[in-house]
Amino acid sequence: MSEAAPNPEAAAWRRRALLLAPLAAAGLGGAGFYAMLRGLGTGDYDPRGVPSALIGKAPPDFSLPPLEGTGLPGLSAADLRTGKPMLVNFFASWCVPCVIEHPQLMRLAREGVAIMGIAYKDKPVDSLGFLKQRGTPYARLGVDQPGRVAIDWGLYGVPETYLLDKGGIIRWRMAGPVTEEILAQQVTPLLRRYA
């Protein structure tokens, strides 16, 4: 049974649209997929990424002991308000991506950016070995061996890096290593913006 079309021209146009619809859908899907793949490559898109619940808030109250042997002071919430933007970096010696991001942290420290470190669920002797071998980018360093302070920050893995503005408010969180791309495209501009 064929459909009686009131206007043959409209019917022809509709047929053509029906023919093109799957093509358009495939094209759009392809473009979206390509954008996702590109984002995965540059680190802009992370399918497992979850926004931090602490963005726009002050960090939780905490006080962590120093790591013996580094000569660095421990870290507490009061140390995070210095009138300058800073990074808070959770790391562990057992964490492989932490090794990847370490050179970037060292570079930032050389450029004068204040980085506060928190050693997460790591034996102090292992953290110390890690820093002795690769250098210490931290201005202060707290030891969170039970990982409880990390939970107050909403941490779900290491490394995680938080950017605090000069008022001590959390503005940005990176779950995963700060790669060279992320340093250039996100950290550096944000540090400038919140200075």
Partner: protein, 152 residues
């Protein structure tokens, strides 16, 4: 060899996912409450398991926190709020209804409504579609002329 290893891993998997019995609360009613709360909370590491089902380190820590707070006598809501404040909406396996999640919650209703509208549209078009029509007098005349039969 590999096949046997795989079989062994499959058999061992579910047994490993159970939490450490040493972490369980001595009071069975409290332990049951803690489990109910824990099943509402997503393991942020594995993402498709609740913290009760996950063997991840972080899930174990959160299980302990939930049990501590239950043992302290905190109401269920307060325990969920504690974790929600730190980890955001994503940690709740049942996300709260708000602007950002309206589409998520509304999707079943939207899909149902869309389907109903589609069916109505198709029915109506079927009804409107004209059946075979009577020939007009002029057409009948022409037909008769062509087929050479005498006029009616």
């Amino acid at each position: 060899m590999i096949r046997w290893l795989l079989l062994l891993m499959l058999a061992a998997g579910p047994a490993l996912a159970v939490g450490d019995p040493a972490d369980q609360l001595p009071n069975p009613a409290q332990e049951e409450r803690a489990r109910v709360i824990g099943r509402e909370l997503r393991c942020m590491v594995c993402q498709n398991q609740s913290i009760e089902d996950s063997d991840a380190d972080l899930a174990r820590d959160l299980r302990r926190i939930v049990r501590e707070q239950v043992a302290q006598g905190k109401p269920d809501e307060a325990v969920l709020t504690f974790v929600h404040e730190r980890y955001g909406d994503f940690v709740l396996l049942k996300p709260p209804f708000k602007m950002a999640t309206a589409l998520l919650w509304g999707m079943p209703a939207i899909a149902l409504l869309g389907g109903a509208l589609l069916i109505r549209g198709m029915r109506r078009r079927q009804r409107v579609a004209p059946g075979p029509q009577e020939l007009t007098q002029a057409e009948r005349d022409r037909l008769a002329q062509l087929s050479g039969r005498p006029r009616e």
